[in-house]
Symmetry: C2
Subunit: 150 residues, 2 copies
C-alpha cells in the first residue's frame, strides 16, 4: 500500500505540515498567557517592521484572506492596538499603524516568539540552518510556479 500511496512516514509534505503544526502550537502556547494568538502577533509584527501596510498587504503577509484580516484589523482598532485613517489618503488603501499600546503589547510577544524560534533551531548548525532556509525557499518557489504567480 505504501508503494501506491504517498507514504506519510517519508513524505516531505507531511513532515512540513507536522513542523508547521508544531511551531504554531508552540507559539500559541507562549502567546496565550499574553492574551494574544499567532494571527494577531503576525499582524502586529508585520506592522512593526513595515509601518503603513494596507489591509490586503497584511493579509498576504500573514497568509490569510483580506476578508479575515479585515475582521482582525477591526478588532485591533477597536481595542486600540492599531489606527487607520478614516479616509484613504490616496485611492481606497488605508495605511495601518501601531499605537503605543500596540507596540507595548508586541514587545512582550516578540520575546516569547523569539524564544520559541531559538528552541526550534537548537541543535542545528549555522550551515544546517541556511541549508534549510534555501530548501524551504526552493519548495515555495516550485509550488507557486505552476499556478497563480502572485
Amino acid at each position: 500500500m505504501n508503494q501506491d500511496g504517498v507514504d506519510l512516514e517519508t513524505s516531505l509534505g507531511y513532515l512540513l505540515k507536522e513542523a508547521s503544526s508544531a511551531l504554531r502550537a508552540a507559539m500559541e502556547e507562549v502567546l496565550r498567557p499574553l492574551g494574544m494568538n499567532v494571527t494577531r502577533y503576525s499582524c502586529l509584527e508585520l506592522l512593526a517592521q513595515r509601518p503603513g501596510l494596507s489591509n490586503s498587504e497584511l493579509a498576504r503577509g500573514a497568509f490569510v484572506t483580506r476578508q479575515s484580516m479585515n475582521v482582525l484589523l477591526q478588532a485591533l482598532e477597536r481595542e486600540g492596538y492599531v489606527t487607520r485613517p478614516a479616509e484613504a489618503p490616496v485611492g481606497k488603501v488605508l495605511p495601518t499603524r501601531l499605537t503605543p499600546r500596540g507596540r507595548r503589547s508586541l514587545e512582550k510577544a516578540t520575546v516569547a516568539v523569539r524564544s520559541v524560534e531559538v528552541r526550534m533551531l537548537a541543535g542545528m548548525t549555522e550551515t544546517e540552518q541556511s541549508d534549510a532556509f534555501r530548501s524551504l525557499q526552493s519548495m515555495i518557489h516550485s509550488l507557486r510556479k505552476g499556478n497563480d504567480g502572485a
Copy 2:
C-alpha cells in the same frame, strides 16, 4: 527595528509557515475539482495506510483536535466513505475503515497530491531532500522537547 524584532525576511519560522501555506494552497487547488479538501484527504490517506485507526489517532495524524476529527468522521461516515462499528470491540475505541467508495475516492486524490509533492521537490537533489527531511525532524523534535511531549 529589525535587530529588535524577529525579522520576517530571514526567519526560518516565518519561512516554514510560508512553505506550509503554499503547500496547503496547492493541495486545496488540485483537490477541489475532486470534491475533496486537505483534511478529508489526510484522513482517508491515514486510513489507507493504517486501517482501523481510532478517531483520536486520526486526529493526531492529521494535526487537528479529536473534536474536529469527530465532526469530519461523522460526515465521511454519513456519505459512505468510511465505516465504524456501532459498538466498541474493546474499551471506547471505534476502529475506522475505508469503504470501497472511500478507497476509490482516495485513489484520484492521491494522484493529484503526489503531483503537487513532485512539483514541490523539483529542483532539489536527493541529498538536498534528505537534508531538508532531517532538518524538519530536528525542528519538530526540538519544539516538542520543552512541552507536552505526546
